[in-house]
């Protein structure tokens, strides 16, 4: 290959062409100078490196790092303390919840003693006995009033029969409800009112007949 000055730059970019460039430089001062400069830049460059002693730099960095480590540990402990408090609070909450549930389950029907709308077992037994006796006495009255009631065909007698049918129907309804909710004092009172109403109606029929 014939090497010309214009090929020098290409030779500097392509190391394989450098031997040809060096051969050419033997007879070309300009190219020899450029080749020397190219090579000398690499030789001189490491001398540009700036070096100086900094005996305080690492101690400063170390001090800063130690302070950061300490701060991190403090934060870590803070979080651990925070989690410990949360754990204690959660434990207390669970303990209180368990105690409340246990107390509620073991408590002997507290609502019946505190709420007048609910009856105790003993009271219910007394109510049921009274109702049975009351019903028996009303049935006795009904048997006494029935002949007079069915015999009369005046409007008052017809209205009274309808009233008794309505009362009997209502008594059946309330008794059916009471059967599913025996401790409900209000229902027992409603039932008693219906019985009383029926009793009064039967008494009226007997009084009218006299």
């Amino acid at each position: 290959m014939t090497f010309h000055c214009r090929d020098l730059e290409r030779a500097l970019a392509i190391p394989e062409l450098l031997p040809d460039a060096r051969e050419h430089a033997k007879v070309c001062d300009a190219c020899r100078r450029e080749l020397w400069l190219w090579s000398e830049m690499s030789t001189a460059a490491p001398g540009l490196r700036e070096e100086w002693e900094t005996p305080d730099l690492w101690p400063q960095i170390r001090q800063e790092l130690a302070a950061q480590q300490k701060a991190a540990k403090t934060r870590d402990l803070g979080w651990r303390g925070h989690w410990r408090m949360l754990a204690i609070a959660a434990g207390l909450a669970i303990a209180v919840s368990v105690s409340v549930v246990t107390y509620v389950r073991r408590a002997p029907a507290p609502a019946a003693t505190q709420d007048p709308d609910f009856l105790t077992e003993q009271t219910l037994k007394e109510v049921e006995q009274s109702e049975a006796a009351y019903r028996a006495s009303i049935d006795k009255l009904t048997r006494l009033a029935q002949p007079r009631l069915t015999a009369a065909e005046n409007p008052a007698a017809i209205a009274t029969r309808e009233k008794l049918l309505m009362l009997d129907s209502e008594i059946d309804n309330v008794r059916s409800t009471v059967a599913h909710n025996k401790f409900n004092a209000q229902l027992q009172a409603d039932l008693a009112d219906l019985y009383r109403d029926k009793q009064d109606t039967l008494k009226e029929i007997l009084q009218r007949a006299q």
Binding site: A45, P46, R49, E50, E51, L57, W58, E64, L65
Partner: protein, 182 residues
């Protein structure tokens, strides 16, 4: 010259060992990293900031960031490119903060290169006049002794680009030096 040797590291511990030890809070391991790289880091920082105090600040900031970041890096990370990337970022931050032109230690329009100065002085002056990317590659490869693969890793560019930019840097420098000495 391999990076570890160029850095003058005397430690037998590998990068992975040093990372793991640093992650455990072992400051002696971190000191080994400092000893291996601080000298070259100061030189690079000075090249970018043109002030020793600024360079030391940048190196200190870089090591604090490196230490904080060791907790998040993989054990198989090659330390050097990562460390020097952090340093360059710190230098740019410092440069911005102090309102200096980070990659131009000399004034915006550097004076022409006198013909009677030693070559090193002439190169230093000429470096200020070439493209910052070319200058950075020249500095890392020719001055600090990094290989093209390492320059590429530090600057996050392809290795071929590192070679090309080095050629461009030297061509521009040769032109400037030739003009100055003509």
């Amino acid at each position: 010259m391999p990076l570890a040797m160029a850095a003058g590291r005397l430690s037998a511990r590998s990068d992975a060992d040093l990372i793991q030890a640093s992650q455990r809070g072992d400051l002696s391991a971190f000191e080994e990293i400092y000893a291996a790289h601080a000298g070259r880091m100061k030189s690079i920082a000075f090249h970018l900031l043109a002030d020793r105090a600024d360079a030391e600040d940048a190196v200190q900031e870089a090591f604090l960031k490196i230490y904080r970041a060791t907790g998040a890096i993989q054990y198989d990370t090659v330390l050097a490119p990562w460390i020097y990337r952090i340093l360059l970022n710190c230098c740019y931050d410092t440069g911005r903060k102090r309102q200096r032109q980070a990659e131009s230690p000399l004034p915006a329009e550097p004076p022409a290169i006198p013909s009677n100065v030693p070559l090193q002085v002439a190169i230093r002056s000429a470096l200020a006049r070439i493209h910052p990317q070319f200058r950075m590659v020249f500095w890392l490869f020719e001055v600090e002794g990094f290989r093209h693969s390492e320059v590429a890793a530090i600057l996050e560019i392809p290795e071929g680009t590192s070679k090309k930019w080095l050629f461009e840097a030297k061509r521009d420098l040769k032109r400037l030096l030739t003009e100055g000495r003509a």
